[in-house]
């Protein structure tokens, strides 16, 4: 019954101290979110507004995207449309090739992870530098992010110290975060000054003005786009918002939900190209438009990518981002992976205790946990239901449908209490791994009822 997730989680949990640190640190981020959200009495109103604006935009995407394109073009930007990941990669490469770009600087973009941009460009001979500190650390280590907002949350300071010593020549054995951060600042400053083109993701694309809004704490997107006059931004088409007024809602929710800050340090609005430069905006579909037709899961397109669902998830916190088979982990990742390809990613749906905490913290009120439950119900239809579980539920059905057999089985249950351990906890009992069976009562409720042993008032 073990899924790829549970096997990978087992590996993650072997380093007990690290696993405990991961769990506690993410919980601390969750607590910061709780504290700051409670300081805003209109918090729940904002979550409702966010959900309603997203539902409006996701049901009016065609007109809003065209409006965005018109306004962005009027502002002087060049707008591209990419059906899928391949077209997105080709568009970026063509722009860079036309301008003979060799040194390319990027700020964090989950879309570029989704579409495999970096390996593609590097193979073409372009020096791609990730400028977000966490992403830069991972780039040095040749690892993918394990969280969408805190990409290097699974890496210890000593590991960063070692890799910086090798790549940046920092002092041996110095793993002080301030020292290491400032070493990266110095090294990346050089990249910022000499890059020939810069690329950013996009948190919000404003239909009524053509603005691309990018939120960061480090200022890496801003530094990146400040020297090269060739700038590229790419967005999944659900990033569209109708107007600036709606940003009042989203900017109040995003950082509070993500890290417990009142707003990100930088909320930058890109409207016109740099003087004498070019501004390219790539609108990417890559399966999003098809999700619109799925009434159970269309709300996944409400996601602001804040990561709050990961920070609160008891399974994510105790299994780490790499335990999931999709590049986005946690509750939103489980759902997005199933929306992408249920046959390929079905291992992730077990990574959920159905506690629904994710649904409670989501700033856009996506019913994340409820949707995972729905995916589980569909597993059989895609041929991915667990065989063992099917046998168990088949057997259970057989017994429950036959009252005599059921009562007989109940009478026999206490025998399990005195059955030797080796017969109960062995390779055949997956459930018993890491769990203890409860003690079966000597008498069933049914028998007790019949013997009039159940006392107390019956309330009607």
């Amino acid at each position: 019954m073990s899924t790829k997730h549970s096997k990978a989680a087992e590996k993650f949990l072997k380093n007990k101290a690290q696993a405990q640190w991961h769990n506690e640190t993410l919980w601390m981020v969750r607590e910061k979110r709780d504290k700051i959200s409670k300081e805003v009495p209109e918090w729940e109103q904002l979550r409702h507004k966010s959900q309603d604006i997203k539902r409006y935009t996701n049901s009016h995407l065609a007109e809003l995207l065209v409006q965005f394109e018109e306004n962005a073009t009027k502002n002087g930007a060049i707008v591209h449309w990419a059906k899928d990941d391949e077209e997105y990669r080709e568009i970026v490469y063509k722009i860079l090739k036309n301008h003979k770009v060799e040194r390319f600087i990027k700020s964090k973009s989950m879309l570029s992870e989704e579409c495999g941009l970096n390996p593609f460009l590097i193979e073409k001979g372009i020096d791609v530098v990730e400028s977000d500190l966490g992403e830069r650390i991972l780039q040095f280590m040749d690892l993918p992010p394990s969280h969408i907002v805190l990409p290097a949350i699974h890496i210890k300071r000593e590991q960063v110290g070692e890799v910086f010593e090798e790549k940046l020549g920092t002092e041996k054995g110095n793993s002080d975060p301030t020292y290491l951060t400032h070493a990266a600042r110095k090294s990346l400053r050089d990249n910022f000054l000499h890059a020939q083109a810069a690329m950013t993701g996009c948190n919000f694309a404003v239909a009524s003005t053509g603005d691309v809004v990018v939120c960061t704490n480090e200022g890496n997107a801003d530094m990146g786009t400040s020297c090269p006059t060739l700038n590229i931004a790419a967005l999944g088409l659900e990033k569209i918002v109708p107007n600036l007024e709606s940003l009042g809602v989203f900017t109040r929710l995003l950082a509070r939900s993500a890290t417990g800050q009142p707003i990100t340090t930088y909320t930058s609005h890109y409207r016109n190209p740099r003087q004498g430069g070019e501004y390219h905006i790539i609108i990417v579909d890559n399966g999003r438009s098809e999700l619109l037709a799925d009434a159970d899961h269309v709300d996944l397109l409400n996601c602001l990518r804040c990561g709050a669902c990961m920070n609160t998830c008891p399974v994510y916190r105790r299994s780490g981002g790499y335990s999931y088979t999709y590049f986005i982990p946690g509750p939103i990742g489980v759902n997005l992976s199933m929306a992408k390809d249920p046959r390929k990613y079905s291992d992730n749906v077990s990574a959920c205790s159905l506690c629904l905490s994710c649904s409670q913290v989501c700033p856009s009120r996506i019913d994340l946990g409820e949707q995972i439950y729905k995916w589980r119900q569909k597993l059989d239809s895609v041929g991915k239901a667990s065989k063992e579980k099917k046998v168990i539920s088949g057997g259970l059905k057989f017994v429950i449908e036959r009252p005599k057999l059921f009562n007989f089985a109940l009478k026999c249950a206490p025998i399990v209490n005195v059955t030797p351990r080796f017969m109960k906890y062995n390779g055949l009992n997956d459930w018993g791994k890491g769990r203890e069976l409860p003690e079966f009562a000597k008498e069933s409720f049914n028998t007790m009822w019949k013997k009039n042993k159940i006392q107390g008032e019956v309330k009607r």
């Binding site: 290097a152 704490n217 480090e218 709606s246 930088y266 930058s268 579909d285 999700l291 009434a295």
Partner: protein, 194 residues
């Protein structure tokens, strides 16, 4: 069919239930007895410093007090006398690197998160907002909005090429969630309320 057309076609084909745009009116939002005080308190929380200019106090003097060792101070504002150079007059944008303090004019501030809106009107290079070791932003104390709703209502009426809400100094916690100021942008931010 172009990709543009096929994407729009696919959206139209797959869109089911239509939802209306909600009213964005917030009932009983968080307000402050004094927006200026709330802004100053919040600036401290986000890692910056707010200074309310007293009557007769000189801006240049204030900047010098906060940054006594600054050698290279850049500002396009003609009334900033302590500036040692004009960032619009550098030969190339890279020459802005090595600026100790940049002094710019902010348009509005926001009490709930200490963000100030800086938009590129006077400056040739937006780099100046990010590249300096310290950033000084001047904001009219009568232009402190309560929250982002008010800030965006103001922004709807104003044009810009590039603009940013900046809330405190550049920061990161990417190494073990330890907070460090000065990731890539300014290490220090001083907002002077004029």
């Amino acid at each position: 069919m172009s990709s543009r057309e096929s994407i729009l076609e696919s959206i139209k084909k797959h869109t089911k239930a239509k939802h209306e745009m909600p009213s964005l009116e917030i009932i009983n939002p968080l307000t402050y007895a004094d927006n200026i005080q709330a802004f100053c308190d919040m600036e401290k929380i986000v890692g910056g410093t707010a200074h309310v200019l007293k009557q007769g106090e000189d801006i240049d003097q204030v900047i010098k007090t906060y940054f006594p060792d600054a050698k290279r101070i850049g500002s396009v504002l003609p009334f900033i006398k302590c500036a040692t150079y004009n960032p619009n007059e550098v030969e190339k944008v890279q020459d802005l690197n090595g600026t100790d303090v940049a002094v710019v004019q902010g348009k509005i501030g926001v009490a709930e998160n200490a963000a100030v809106w800086v938009s590129q009107e006077l400056e040739t290079y937006k780099a100046i907002y990010f590249i300096a070791e310290a950033l000084v932003v001047l904001v009219d104390r009568n232009e402190i909005k309560t929250n982002m709703h008010e800030a965006y209502a103001w922004l709807e009426k104003h044009d810009y090429k590039f603009g940013a809400f900046i809330s405190g100094p550049s920061k990161t916690a990417d190494i073990e969630q330890a907070l460090v100021f000065g990731a890539h942008g300014a290490r220090q931010v001083l907002v002077i309320l004029t």
